[in-house]
C-alpha cells in the first residue's frame, strides 16, 4: 500500500501527547502513566478520607509528596519514550515542548501581572494545563511534516 499522506495520529497526539500506542515505547509510556495516575487518584481519595480521621501523622505528609512523585515518575517515563522514538518524532516533540515552555512563560507573566494589580494568585497545580497545551502544540508542529 502506498500513501503520500503524512498520517500523523491526530487523536493520540491530542489525547496523550504522543504519536500513538503502536510504538512499543509509546505503549509503555501510556500504560505506566495510566497506572501512576490511577495510583495518584486512589491515594488522594484514600488520603482525603484518612486525613479526616487522622489529621496529623504520616498521611498528610505522604499526601503532600504523592502529586510531585507521581508527575516526576511520569516525566521520567516520558523521557524514556522520547529517547526511544525516531528522529523526526523526537524533533517534533522537542519543538512542541519548546513552544509549550514559551507559552507557559507568557501565561505566567500575564497571570503574574494580573496578580500584582488584583492580589489574585493562581494555584500552581493549574500548571498541569500545560500538558494539553503541549498536545495542542504537538498537533500544530506535526502539520509542518
Amino acid at each position: 500500500m502506498r500513501s503520500d499522506k503524512s498520517g500523523w495520529p491526530t487523536c493520540a497526539m491530542l489525547a496523550y501527547g504522543t504519536f500513538g500506542g503502536g510504538h512499543p515505547a509509546a505503549h509503555r509510556y501510556h500504560v505506566r502513566s495510566a497506572v501512576a495516575l490511577a495510583g495518584f487518584v486512589a491515594w488522594m481519595m484514600f488520603g482525603a478520607a484518612a486525613r479526616s480521621l487522622l489529621p496529623t501523622g504520616a498521611i498528610p505528609i505522604i499526601s503532600a509528596l504523592v502529586p510531585g512523585a507521581t508527575f516526576a515518575y511520569i516525566a521520567w517515563e516520558f523521557r524514556r519514550y522520547l529517547i526511544s522514538i525516531d528522529e523526526l518524532a523526537r524533533s517534533v516533540q522537542f519543538e512542541s515542548i519548546a513552544w509549550t515552555y514559551l507559552t507557559g512563560l507568557a501565561v505566567a507573566a500575564i497571570f503574574g501581572g494580573i496578580g500584582l494589580v488584583t492580589q489574585w494568585s493562581v494555584n500552581p497545580l493549574w500548571f498541569i494545563v500545560l500538558e494539553p497545551i503541549r498536545a495542542a502544540w504537538l498537533y500544530i508542529v506535526s502539520r509542518r511534516y
Binding site: R2, F19, H23, E87, L88
Partner: protein
C-alpha cells in the same frame, strides 16, 4: 535539500512503510523526507544509502537556500 527517495523507492518496489521498517523509523519520517519537508540526520542518510546501495550524493542534492 532535494532527494531522489521516491524514485529509488519505486525502483526497489518498496512502500513508505517497508522503507520505514528497514530504516527503523516511522512512515511519517520517510514521507517527510520524501516530500522535502524534513532533512534527515547524517546517520539516517547513511542508512538510506545502505538500503539503496547508492552514494548519499546520488540520493540527496544540496540546493542553495534550502533548509
Amino acid at each position: 535539500m532535494k532527494n531522489e527517495l521516491r524514485v529509488l523507492r519505486a525502483r526497489h518496489n518498496l512502500s513508505q512503510a517497508d522503507l520505514a521498517e528497514k530504516l527503523g523509523v516511522s512512515r511519517q519520517t520517510v514521507n517527510a523526507i520524501e516530500t522535502g519537508r524534513y532533512d534527515p540526520s547524517l546517520p539516517l542518510a547513511f542508512k538510506l544509502a545502505a538500503v539503496f546501495n547508492a552514494p548519499i550524493e546520488q540520493i540527496f542534492t544540496y540546493e542553495n537556500g534550502s533548509h
